[in-house]
Symmetry: C2
Subunit: 171 residues, 2 copies
DNA sequence: CCCGTATGGTCCGATTCGTATGATTCGAAC
DNA sequence: GTTCGAATCATACGAATCGGACCATACGGG
């Protein structure tokens, strides 16, 4: 049970499990797709391997159904819970980038007017999606709601930005 | 010269090269660090391998110094230029995520007030950096300027968001 | 009981990552 | 004009990730 390498993926699994335990990786996958993956996605196969890794490290407990599909069912152990809490409590300076393919093309000299309509549309769709979620679950947990609001704010920003470029077409 | 797999990394190299050719991978690395990597970074070793790959595919021409360090010096070929233009011209629907470690923690229930100060500070620093770049190069190419403005807008948004949570401390 | 579809999970080659390290050049000191 | 350290330039390579393809089980309807 040496201290395992912990990545964002690890904490995503721990965090999801806290919301849903006991759960199979498949359960987590479903939950994730309706939530975190909207702003931080990982390939679904990672969930399976990460569960195994974390179980090996003693942060998760693994049970198997003894018949049928023999699914693996996970719960948090005390040290899993502890790791999650420690991560949550520790503020962070580490930053990520707001990567956007449209902006990358723009940077390298693409024609703004040519890019803009598709970008507006794509970001509008994302925004609609977020707002639908917000409307559907008005009683969402505080943290999720805030994360969602942040997502909405960014999408609005993208739309504002690209809309302006779209209007600039006439130049 | 089979059609090579083209990734964002490929276009970053092509785009940088267009700005700086003829150039060594090292030159590109330097240029990138002062520009694109601010919003779309890749490990520097990738630049070396990507140059070789693209040269193998006929999109770049490689010359080597014949003495000393025997550096590889690259220029775009006609088909390299063509690939870059095609990429730029083609609008895109593919989206990326705005990943932010703070938001991830928030989502999983971290205490907003505990996270906020560090987040405000980190994003403020990033914003200052961007604004310094904007001030230093007022005559930046159109595309870069727009990309930078987008970055600035997003950083402001992050700051607004986290500042509000910071104020909410009293609850 | 058979088949089609949905569910649940794994495999594995290809790619990417990033640390560690190696090699060349340059300049300043003596 | 040689030695040393720092800066420049570059690669090697093991570990981690990626994601498409595929396999297995369950379930419902005819």
């Amino acid at each position: 049970m040496s201290t395992p390498r912990m990545t964002e993926t690890s904490y995503i699994v721990l965090g999801l499990l806290e919301l849903a335990e006991p759960a199979t990786p498949y359960d987590l996958k479903g939950l994730a797709q309706r939530s975190v993956f909207n702003f931080w996605s990982i390939p679904h196969t990672q969930i399976y391997t990460e569960c195994q890794r974390l179980a090996g490290a003693g942060l998760l407990e693994e049970k198997r159904e003894d018949s049928g599909r023999r699914r693996r069912i996970y719960t948090l152990t005390a040290s899993g819970r502890e790791a999650l809490n420690a991560w949550r409590a520790e503020p962070t300076h580490r930053m990520y980038e707001v990567r956007d393919l449209g902006v990358l093309k723009l940077f390298f000299g693409a024609d703004p007017a040519q890019l803009a309509p598709a970008q507006v549309e794509a970001h509008q769709r994302k925004l609609d999606e977020f707002e639908a979620i917000a409307a559907e679950f008005p009683e969402m947990p505080e943290g999720s709601r805030l994360a969602l609001e942040m997502g909405i704010a960014h999408e609005r920003e993208f739309i504002r930005f690209w809309s302006e470029l779209e209007k600039g077409k006439r130049d």
